[in-house]
Structures are given as C-alpha cells and as structure tokens.
Symmetry: C2
Subunit: 225 residues, 2 copies
DNA sequence: ACAAAAGTGTTAAGAATACACCCATGT
DNA sequence: ACATGGGTGTATTCTTAACACTTTTGT
C-alpha cells in the first residue's frame, strides 16, 4: 500500500437494489468477507478493473456477490458518484452507485460473500462504510422517480391489482393514499390497461387485474403526487 | 502507455458551466492545448490526482484552464458520470461531470489553455470528445431543475425585473411564456419579493426590481412548468 | 404624439381533494 | 350472516390557460 503506483483514485461501483416483499420495500445487502468491515453487511460493490465499463463491472460484481443478474431488473439507473468511502484506509476512492428495481429476485451466497439477502428497510442492520446514507439517498431518488415516471412497474408483477399498485406506492412513499383518488388519477395517466382477468384471493370480491402498457421506463407529462 | 501500472480506470472531471449573456444561454468552453484534439474546443476538465476529491479537482482544474472560480457560482451539482470518452486512446476512463450556473463570469486564457470563453449554445463549435452530447445532457438537467427548484436565481443579478426573470426562463426552456400567467404563478411560489427600487432603461415605463428570498438552492413543493 | 416595454384581471377548463357506501366472495 | 377487501361518484377548491388593453417613460 505504500509505493502506490496509481495516479488517480481507485474506482468502485456499488448498487442499491430494491424490491417489494410482502408489500414492503426491501434492499439487497451482502455480508462482507474481507476487511475492512469483515463480517458486516453492506451494499454489493467492488473495484472496477481496467477493462470494464461501469455498468459491466456493476453487473459482474453484483452477480459475483449476490447471484443477482442486473439485467433481470426492470429499471437500472446511475444514482450518484460518491467520493471516498468514509473509513477506507487505502486513500481516496470514487464510488459510482447505481439504483435498481426488480421483483422475484432470489439472492444467494457465493464464493465471494457469506450471505446475501433482502432486508426490510426498517430492519437494515448496521452497515459497512456509510452505506445507510446511500440507501436513504437511493430511496429519495426512487420516491421522486415515481412521481414523474412509470418506474413502479419494475416492482410489480406483470399482472397486478389496483390495490397492489396502490400498496406499492404507499410502501415507497411511506404514506397512505386515498383509494378513490389514487385509482382515478392513476388510470387517467394512461400508463396501464385493464385485462379481462381477475385475481381471486380469500373471502372477498375478486380483484380486476391490470397491466402496464410499457415494461420500460417512460416519462410522464403530468406528474404523479 | 504500455506497461500500465493502473488497476482501475483513470478518473477525470469536467464541468458544464452556464451563464446568461444578453438574455441568451451560453456555455463555458476552453481551447485544448494538447492531444488528443489539440486546438479543438472542449469543456474544461482534467485528470483527478490521488490527493483530491472530485469537487476539489473540478475546482482547481476549472480555475487552471479558464480562471473561473467554482465557488463564485450560485449553483453547482453533480451531473453524471460518463464512461470512457469516445476516442480516448488511453483505455477506459471515467469522467465525473458537474453542472454549474453563474453570472458575470469572465474567463481568461491561462498557461494551460489557449482561450476560454462562453459560447452561445447555438454557436458552439465542433467539440473534442463527445462534449456536445454532454452539453445537451446538462441542458436537459437544467431545464428540469428549473421546474422544481429556484435554480434560476444563480443566472440572474441580485436585483432583477420580472421581464428579466421571464426571459431567463425562456432562454433556458427554449420557448415563449405568457407574461401575465408567468408573473402570477411565479409570485405565488413565494420565492421572490418586491423591492422598492426600479430599473430605468430606455423610453418606457420603469420596471420594478425583485429579489430572491434565498440565494441558495431551494426545492419547491409546487412545481413550475 | 409616438414608440417601447411595464403592468394588470377575468373567465373557463382541468386537476386535486375530501369523503361513505355497496359488491362479490369464502367460511 | 358475516367478515374481508374490491369497487365506485360527487361536490368543492385550487390550478392552469387563454387572452388585450392601459401605464409610464424618453425622444
């Protein structure tokens, strides 16, 4: 570490991956297997080698540490580039973070990580570096993203009920919404369409299933919320 | 360049600095003094050394190349981190770009640049790398920023008329706005206040001067445009 | 008196909010 | 028959959009 041949800071990537589990927002964490912070939980990330782009490195490292494939996510976007991890003894670093949204993701332990799993936001344990701050930052971004894009599609199944949609919004925004107004407004945005199918679940009226017109990120003209 | 001791891509910074000149939006460019693209115009930027943060490096390099001080700008924010400059023969690089807004900025030639000057957006010459794309990207960001913050303050003098304010919006958004609706709406946002002063200029009624309540970035609850 | 930009108000359409009851099903 | 979540409409307020004439000054 002395006699460092580098001329420029080391470049890291990391990712904040969200998904819904039981209508609650969760974030993907992995348990570190090396110092610094050996044994602590952290966002999946690592050093970018010379021959990869940022997105390639993020994809590879995410897979190596959590067995999650970046391209199975519905939305991936660059979040922010942070300076020096607090507490990193190896001098300055630059960390390019991405934000990802997905569903039905099952992380696994890998040779490079002890465990990987999604944690409810409210149950996130003590994290390495200042990754808690980064998760908050990502959540803020996600919240604003929901207001001017259809990004919520990435968190929902292909067919979903209005209640699921509303609950997803509530989970991300962290507040309750009015059922009638929500439906009226969301339908008027023209992002979704009815299907002829129904979801039967339990002792109550079956719920109509809807689907998004587009499974890629679209920008709204009128903003939501 | 062969036998490269680096393990991770080189980190560059660059900045897209906008200001208004004669009610038109302009961008700060500098003429390159080295290969690649020796002699072509480009956004001011350079390599980040080991001992500086991204913002420190941006500040220093901007000053070295254009004599502009980053901290004399009203708004500075990270724009995006781009992979590899197209055409850079030195292998992969990462370029962290910032967006800056200012007024009354006078760039100068320096030992590290032939010239530096603000160009009207429509007169931007052929640029090194793909810096044209980056300017477009920055302009998009600026446009959306105007809709949910008071960022326009950074482009205007401390005291300004409603016409100046509206013209500034029009210059950035690239479209005409209705005078009465603009004033009504902007005043209702509560960002500015009247002063008791007037701006006299030419053969017409003097214009009342206004000022911003805050000279730092504020986020609106209601969005503009 | 004229030219030039500053300043001002109303109406109509659309969007947001608040709010309570009936419906279809399983047990 | 009851418990459960699904589904629906109206009235009020606020916001947006369209639109034209008078005011004040300098020459």
């Amino acid at each position: 570490m002395q006699d460092d041949p580098r001329k420029t800071p080391e470049v890291f990537v990391a990712a904040v991956i969200f998904q819904l589990i039981d209508n609650e927002l969760t974030v993907l964490l992995t348990q570190r297997q090396r110092d610094p912070f050996n044994g602590l939980w952290a966002l999946p990330g690592g050093l970018v080698p010379l021959k990869e782009t940022l997105l390639q490195a993020t994809t590879r490292i995410l897979h190596e540490k959590t067995a999650v494939k970046l391209n199975q996510l519905g939305v991936v976007e660059q979040l922010y580039t942070f300076d020096t991890f607090a507490g990193n003894p190896n001098g300055p670093t630059v960390s390019v973070m991405h934000l990802g949204l997905g569903k039905d993701i099952v992380p696994k332990a890998t040779p490079l990580s002890r465990h990987s799993q999604f944690y409810l936001l409210k149950d996130v344990p003590e994290l390495a570096f200042d990754h808690s701050t980064k998760i908050d930052f990502a959540l803020q971004r996600l919240r604003s993203k929901l207001s001017y894009t259809n990004a919520i599609f990435a968190l929902l199944p292909t067919l979903f009920t209005m209640s699921q949609l509303q609950t997803a919004y509530e989970a991300v925004l962290g507040k309750k919404l009015d059922k009638r107004n929500f439906r009226k407004k969301f339908i008027s945005l023209g992002l979704i369409q009815q299907t002829s199918e129904y979801h039967m679940s339990g002792a109550h009226r079956p719920a109509r299933l809807y689907k998004f017109n587009s499974q890629t990120l679209e920008y709204l003209t009128r903003s939501f919320d």
